[in-house]
Every structure is written in structure tokens, then in C-alpha cells.
């Protein structure tokens, strides 16, 4: 080794030692995570990634930890994180993901058990989080694995001004929805001289579209309360996807595909939201996002013109004894309102943060602190009122502190309307829980999504679509194990609310 090289090396080591010492000296009790880097993976925004990216610098300033937000497309998130953990690559310390996937992440032991941490963290105010989200989004087999950052229900939004002007009531059933959409289709709804659309839905394949079909089907499939389940027969794990109720939902879905923008089959939620808040649609079906995007006057043309209601229902439901559609009555639809069975759908469950068990102890602490920081009422109370965050209310305080909403630009009446629709869904005894069993991603994102896309495109008929979904689900159930899947499904329905 040449003398110069040796000197250079000594110099580098010296500088390194000094840097390490100075780094150590700056670590104070104020900055407990100085020098720790937390890599958080979530889906390509702007929503969800935006609040994480916006608040990371504040957290860094307060704790000294460095937070890297890594984003991947929604359709890749499930496998990307799972393969990273399974192959022990461990390039992510935490993930903000779909709690429905816990069935694949928790049993192999990839996620850190957060039960003790959430109880000890007083700033997190764990009990302020609505019980449903604490149970569905955070808890798996009695243990807490995630911190909820978002609360998800699908609802229907309508243009209050247009409905009032034309004397039309907000839709109570899906038939009403179709009738109202047809009424407004082709009319100019925002005064720009262009023809607009009755209803705008996301129907693109490999996006977040299939939840909309479940939102429609829920009203026909489940009427006896949450534990009845809307996906499988709880006796034998046979899918509830090939019966007159599913056919009715497919029929509604197909009709809606034709009462909307010409590109509707190629629109994802970003497109349908954009169309609605620019005043081009009379109706839409979405999570809580439209409510908060509509008050963002930098992009919205419908501020204070939007009404939100619980998902429309149906007067006919599936009678599980005959597997035929039957008119609602007191025994068949015990929770019906004015003879209409509503089954609000907790689609997705809400983005939640989990921690990689294989990360270093200090990193896990920092990751937990960051997720807790994001969820604490001071931060989340503001984030849920901002449309671009993609975060919707999930804490009791989000619903009770109305001033946060009025401060964000929502009128008191609109806030009551919006929060009322979410609360009505949250408190419904007939709420439909989303699927949360092993391989949920295949059942919904692959099998259901593809079949629905093919049905909308006219590649397959309604009956072929139902047969295809049923066969694919049954094949997967048999591959994984029918009994174990049934146990997992029943366990997921026993969630307390």
C-alpha cells in the first residue's frame, strides 16, 4: 500500500471518528432518534403519501430521526412489501398499507406487535380512535399490528344545488340513483356550455374500482347484520357471487357504466373525483375524499354544493334460505329504513401504518413514534379535513370537533351532512366488513377486478362473470385450504364495533 493511500485512509478514519463523536454529542433527550433513518413505504400519491411527506420534516426536527417516504403504485404495494419482508430484504422499516392484507402479513410474523406500545403511548390517545377502526384496521387475532391513519366508508355524493333545483330527492335505492343519473346525463351542470354526466364512477381495471361494485352488491347481499357477511356463506365458504343478488348488482353496475363520461371504463378514482369537483357530474360514489376535496377552492367548483349520504340500498334482498331475491320484510330486513335495506360498506378499512418486525429496535421505536405522530389528534384532526391527504375521519374527536371542519372551509350544514353520512355508516348494525382473509388480494384485486372489467367491456355476460368469479374464488379457497379460510372469514366477521 502506498504511503499516500495509507495517509488518506488514516485521515478518513479520523474524520469519521470526529464526525461520529460530534454526532453523538448532538444527541440530546430532545432528539431521541438522532441518526436513525426510518424508511416508510406507501402508495404513490398524491393522497396518503402527501401528509406523510409533508409532516416528516416536522417530525425529523422534533426527534432527530430521518424519515424516507418511498412510494409504489397501489397495484404493486401488496406484493412489493410482502416479498421484501418474506425474502428478508427488509428495505422498508414501516408500511402504510391496506389492513385487509394482514391475513398474509401477520401469520408469517412479518409485522411488529404494537399492543403494548399503543397502550403506553398517551399522546396517541388510542381510545379516541373509533372502536371499529381499532378492531378492523389495527387488530388481528387480539393483537394490535397497525396504527389507523384513515377511516374508510364508501358513500354517495350528489350535487345538492341541482337536486334541489329540479326537486329530486337524494337517492335512497340504487334504482333511484340510476333514475337521477339519467335525469342529469347530457345536461350542462357547471355552466361551461359542455354536456356533463349523470354519474361519475371509477371503473378502470387494476385500480380501486371493484370496491364500487361491492358497495352496490352489499345492499342486495347482506340484510341480517354485520355477522351475516357479504362475501361467503359462513357454513361452507361458498362464494356469494353467483345468485340473483349479485346479478342485480352487476345489472346496476352495467347501467351506471353507460350513464357517465365516455372514458368511464378507463377512469380511476383520481379521474372521477376530478370530474365531480369540477362540476361535471351530478352523482358519484366514493370514499370520504370528495367531501374534503370539494371544499378546496383552488380546484373545486362545487364548494358548498355537495351533499353526502349513506350508500343507497335495495327493497329486495337475497333470501339465504332460497338464494332468491325477495321483498324486504321485518324478518328479512330487520334493519331496513322505510322498507329499504342499507348495507354501508367499510371498503378497504382505511390506510394504516405497520412496522417491520425485522428492523432494528431503535428504528422500530422511531417508526412507531412517526406513525403515532401522524395519528395523534393534533395532526390527524387537521389532515382529515384536507382533501389531498386522502385521510378520512376515524377518531371520535374528528366527528365531535366541528370547528376544525368549518375552519377548513366547510359550512356548518355541509359538515353536519358529511360527518353524518360517515357516522350513519359507522353506526349501522348492517355494516358490511371488507374481506380480510389470507390471499384477499387475489380474491379482490385479481379475480373480482378482472371479471368486473371484462363484464363492463362486454367480454363476458353477467352469468359468465358470476361463474368466473365463483370458480376463481373456489379454486383459490381450495388451494389455501377451505377450512382455514372459513375460520379466517368467520374470525374477521366477529369484529366488535
Amino acid at each position: 500500500m502506498s504511503r499516500h493511500l495509507a495517509r488518506a485512509l488514516v485521515l478518513m478514519v479520523g474524520v469519521g471518528v470526529i464526525a461520529a463523536c460530534s454526532g453523538g454529542s448532538s444527541t440530546s433527550s430532545n432528539q431521541p432518534y438522532s441518526g436513525v433513518t426510518v424508511r416508510v413505504v406507501t402508495f404513490t400519491g398524491p393522497q396518503i403519501a402527501e401528509p406523510l411527506q409533508r409532516r416528516a420534516p416536522d417530525f425529523e426536527k422534533a426527534t432527530g430521526a430521518k424519515v424516507q417516504i418511498i412510494t409504489v403504485p397501489f397495484s404493486d404495494l401488496y406484493q412489493k412489501v410482502l416479498t421484501d419482508f418474506a425474502t428478508k430484504t427488509n428495505s422498508y422499516d414501516a408500511t402504510v398499507f391496506d389492513p385487509q392484507w394482514m391475513g398474509d402479513y401477520v401469520p408469517p410474523g412479518y409485522l411488529e406487535d404494537l399492543t403494548d406500545r399503543v397502550q403506553k403511548d398517551s399522546a396517541l390517545q388510542w381510545n379516541d380512535i373509533a372502536p371499529f377502526f381499532r378492531d378492523f384496521s389495527a387488530t388481528f387475532k387480539g393483537k394490535v399490528y397497525t396504527i389507523p391513519l384513515d377511516g374508510d366508508f364508501q358513500m354517495v355524493y350528489y350535487r345538492k344545488d341541482l337536486f334541489q333545483k329540479d326537486g329530486i330527492q337524494p337517492p335512497a335505492t340504487w334504482d333511484d340513483y340510476i333514475a337521477a343519473a339519467k335525469h342529469f346525463q347530457g345536461k350542462d351542470l357547471n355552466g361551461d356550455g359542455k354536456n356533463d354526466y349523470g354519474s361519475c364512477l371509477a371503473m378502470k381495471r387494476s385500480a380501486q374500482s371493484y370496491w364500487a361494485w361491492i358497495s352496490i352488491a352489499a345492499a342486495y347481499l347482506q340484510s341480517q347484520g354485520t355477522k351475516q357477511g357479504a362475501f361467503f356463506n359462513t357454513a361452507n365458504m361458498q362464494p356469494l357471487t353467483n345468485n340473483p343478488a349479485a346479478a342485480a348488482a352487476l345489472d346496476v353496475y352495467k347501467q351506471l357504466s353507460k350513464i357517465g363520461p365516455p372514458d368511464q371504463l378507463n377512469n380511476d378514482v383520481g379521474d372521477s373525483r376530478g370530474l365531480f369537483i369540477t362540476g361535471r357530474c351530478a352523482l358519484s360514489l366514493d370514499w370520504g375524499d370528495i367531501g374534503t376535496l370539494a371544499i378546496d377552492t383552488t380546484q373545486s367548483k362545487v364548494a358548498d354544493k355537495v351533499g353526502a349520504i349513506i350508500l343507497p340500498g335495495s327493497k329486495k334482498v337475497l333470501d339465504r334460505s332460497t338464494m332468491q331475491l325477495a321483498d324486504c320484510n321485518a324478518t328479512l330486513c330487520p334493519y331496513a329504513v322505510n322498507g329499504v335495506n342499507h348495507a354501508p360498506f367499510a371498503a378497504f378499512g382505511g390506510w394504516s401504518g405497520a412496522i417491520n418486525k425485522a428492523s432494528a429496535a431503535k428504528t422500530k421505536d422511531a417508526a412507531f413514534a412517526f406513525l403515532s405522530y401522524m395519528s395523534q389528534p393534533a395532526q390527524s384532526g387537521e389532515d382529515v379535513t384536507i382533501g389531498k391527504t386522502g385521510f378520512n375521519p376515524y377518531r371520535t374527536s374528528h366527528f365531535t370537533k366541528q370547528d376544525a371542519w368549518t375552519k377548513a372551509g366547510m359550512s356548518a350544514a355541509a359538515a353536519t351532512d358529511y360527518l353524518g353520512a360517515i357516522q350513519a355508516s359507522l353506526q349501522s348494525p348492517n355494516m358490511v366488513l371488507d374481506l380480510r382473509i389470507p390471499q384477499t388480494s387475489f380474491y379482490q384485486q385479481t379475480a373480482l377486478d378482472t371479471a368486473l372489467a371484462q363484464f363492463l367491456a362486454g367480454e363476458i355476460s353477467s352469468s359468465q362473470c358470476m361463474t368466473q368469479i365463483t370458480n376463481q374464488w373456489n379454486t383459490k379457497t381450495d388451494e389455501v385450504g377451505r377450512q382455514s379460510q372459513l375460520d379466517a372469514y368467520k374470525a374477521s366477521l366477529s369484529i366488535t364495533k
Binding site: P108, P262, A453, A457, Q468
Partner: protein, 381 residues
């Protein structure tokens, strides 16, 4: 100190060393290429064999890792005969008169080619067997294409990919050749156009896909005034199966024509002028000069560039994925996108099976192309 070695000892050493040296000489060539072989084994053959095993198994997650469960040919069975068959192979409809005519024409052509080879002077038993096998596979593919496209049925990802490759490569070749012939003319601004024609190839495929997604949007894209002028704003062509496939093909043609253009341009520019000049002096027309002189000389380059594009074309994924996510339905889904869709749900075995089917098809098409067309074209040239 000096060492004395007797001549006898030297002879003994030499007689011992000679066979060793001979052997070393023989193995030296092997030793020298060993590093390359190891690299190829490690990075090419080993993954190929591993993925073959993966295609015969199912992935599961277990405590602290993953496990592969051997399931035999189950993944292939699902694709060819099971629940994924309509997705992979498509759905055949009842044959129409047009379909019957197409099949008769295709099978007639195959029979004629086989007959001609069997009666020809150059036939060999191996060649005949190879051609019979190739004809059988090509015949099956032709049956699949005709039955799913020229009927009320619908094509699966295999047929859609073959259509992409066939149409794209043919159009790209014709356009690329045309542009190359134009640019070698002494026209003003040809240097500028040479660069401009190359630009699409420089753009990342995902960028091209987003570009075409915007262009295809009739209600708010940059071409909106054009669509509005013709009253087409309420028409969406990417929600129609063939419209969406057309959009994918236009994007692919736009992106990859420059590749063929640049290769053919290089080939044309290196051609000797003497032959062309002699032909012109002899009174040959422009068409005759092209068809009899230029074209035969660029055939080797043509066949190579077409082979490269065929192999690349089979792997198309970015355009259909970004443009419509494979939709509407599964209309624009290519084989690679099909494998990717399955892989996304972590059915890695199923995904590997699709990838292997793609490998088989590409290998078959590649070998058939090389044997039946390229060798002959090169020999002619």
C-alpha cells in the same frame, strides 16, 4: 554452485512432461472459457431452471420466510384447460364463412409449402420432421387466431400478443424502410429529419404510454379541439376492445419504427453506388433498382432487425399497462402483462407458467423464422 543434469534425466523429464503438456494444451481452451460458462450458468441457465421449478410450484408464506410447494403441472393445466384458459387462449366462437375461408387459405398454403419441400431436391428427413412439427404448431396457432378473432369469440392474451407482434413489426418495417429510403435522398433538411425520426426511440416507453393516453382521451386531452370539431367528444376509443388495441399498436409503431429506420438507413448508406449506377445506365426504373438491387442487398440487415423486433415485440407490457391497465376487460392484455397481473397477487408459480408459455412461443417463432426465412434470405443475398 552449478547443477549437473544428465541428458538421460532430461529425456526422462521430457517424456514425462510431454503428455502432461499435451493434456494441458487440450484443457486450456476449456479452462479459459470456464469463467464465461460459469457466468452464463449463474445468470442465465440457473434462473431458467429455477423459474421452471417455480412454474411447477405454489408459493406460500410461512413463519419467517417463504415455502414453495410442488404442484406438478397444475399451473399449466389451469392455463391450458382450467379456469385461466379463457384469459390465456381466449374463447372460440362458431366459425363464420370468413373464418372458414381464412383457415382453408392458411392450411392450403401450409400444405403447399410442405409438399414443395417434400418434392424438392434439398429435402432431408430431419428437415421434413421439423417442418411437419412447425406446421402443426403454426396450424394450431392459426386455428386459435381465426376462431377467436374472426368469430363472435374473443382473443386471449396469447392471440392479442401475436396480433401486436404481427401488425406492429409489419407496419414498423414498412414505415422504417420508407423513411430510410426518403432520408437517403438528397432532400433539404434530411439531417434534421434523421434526428427527429430517432426521437421516439429515445423516450422511455412509460412516457410514450402516458403520451398516448393523453392523446387518446377525447374529452379532455390535447386533441380535444380536433375531436370536438368532428363531434367525437362523447366517443371513447380506448373503451372499445379493438380501439384500445389500435391505440396500443399505434404507440408501439410510433416508438419502434425509428429502430428499424436507423438500422436500414445504415444498411442502405453502406451500399456500393456502382450497381445502382450501372442499373440506371441500363435503363432500370426506380422500382426495379429498389426491388432488384437495393432490397436484396439490405436483406441480411432486414432479417436481423425484424428478428430483434419480433422477439422484443412479444415482451410488450408498458403500453397496454399504462394506457388502460390491460383493459377494457382483458382486451389489450399481452402475455407479459398477464404474467405480471398474476404475479402481483403473488401467484408466482402461475406467473412463471405464463412466462414459460411465452418463452416457448417466442422460441418457436424465432426458430421458425430463422430456419424458414432468414437463412434463405441471407443465402440469396
Amino acid at each position: 554452485m552449478s547443477i549437473h543434469v544428465s541428458p538421460r534425466a532430461l529425456t526422462a523429464v521430457a517424456s514425462w512432461w510431454r503428455p502432461v503438456a499435451g493434456r494441458l494444451d487440450r484443457v486450456a481452451s476449456g479452462v479459459f472459457i470456464l469463467p464465461a460458462v460459469v457466468v452464463i450458468l449463474a445468470f442465465s441457465i440457473f434462473p431458467l431452471i429455477t423459474s421452471l421449478y417455480v412454474s411447477l410450484s405454489r408459493l406460500g408464506f410461512s413463519q419467517g420466510g417463504v415455502e414453495l410447494k410442488f404442484v406438478g403441472f397444475d399451473n399449466y393445466r389451469k392455463l391450458l384447460f382450467g379456469i385461466d384458459r379463457p384469459h390465456f387462449l381466449g374463447v372460440a366462437g362458431p366459425l363464420t364463412p370468413l373464418g372458414i375461408a381464412a383457415l382453408i387459405a392458411i392450411y392450403g398454403l401450409f400444405a403447399f409449402l410442405l409438399y414443395r419441400y417434400a418434392r424438392g431436391a434439398t429435402r432431408t428427413v430431419g428437415g421434413l420432421v421439423g417442418r411437419v412439427v412447425a406446421t402443426a404448431i403454426a396450424g394450431a396457432l392459426a386455428w386459435l387466431i381465426v376462431n377467436t378473432i374472426l368469430t363472435s369469440g374473443r382473443p386471449g392474451t396469447l392471440v392479442v400478443t401475436i396480433v401486436y407482434v404481427g401488425v406492429d413489426v409489419a407496419v414498423q418495417y414498412l414505415l422504417g424502410l420508407g423513411l430510410a429510403l426518403l432520408v437517403v435522398q438528397h432532400l433539404p433538411g434530411r439531417r434534421f429529419f434523421r434526428v427527429v425520426f430517432l426521437l421516439p426511440m429515445m423516450i422511455t416507453p412509460v412516457g410514450v404510454a402516458y403520451l398516448f393516453r393523453m392523446l387518446a382521451d377525447t374529452s379532455k386531452g390535447p386533441l380535444y379541439p380536433l375531436w370536438a370539431h368532428f363531434g367525437l367528444t362523447d366517443v371513447s376509443w380506448v373503451t372499445n376492445p379493438w380501439g384500445a388495441r389500435l391505440a396500443v399498436m399505434i404507440g408501439d409503431v410510433w416508438q419502434w419504427t425509428p429502430f428499424i429506420f436507423i438500422v436500414l438507413l445504415a444498411a442502405i448508406e453502406t451500399l456500393p453506388h456502382e450497381l445502382t449506377e450501372a442499373a440506371v445506365v441500363d435503363g432500370a426504373t426506380r422500382w426495379q433498382v429498389f426491388w432488384r438491387i437495393t432490397f436484396p442487398q439490405i436483406l441480411p440487415a432486414t432479417t436481423t432487425v425484424v428478428l430483434i423486433r419480433i422477439i422484443e415485440g412479444f415482451k410488450i407490457i408498458d403500453l397496454p399497462n399504462v394506457l388502460t391497465n390491460g383493459g377494457p376487460g382483458t382486451a389489450t392484455e399481452s402475455l407479459t402483462l398477464h404474467a405480471y397481473t398474476i404475479w402481483r397477487a403473488l401467484d408466482i408459480g402461475g406467473s412463471a407458467a405464463v412466462a414459460y408459455m411465452l418463452l416457448i412461443v417466442v422460441t418457436f417463432v424465432g426458430i421458425a423464422y430463422v430456419n424458414l426465412f432468414r437463412n434463405r434470405a441471407t443465402a440469396v443475398a
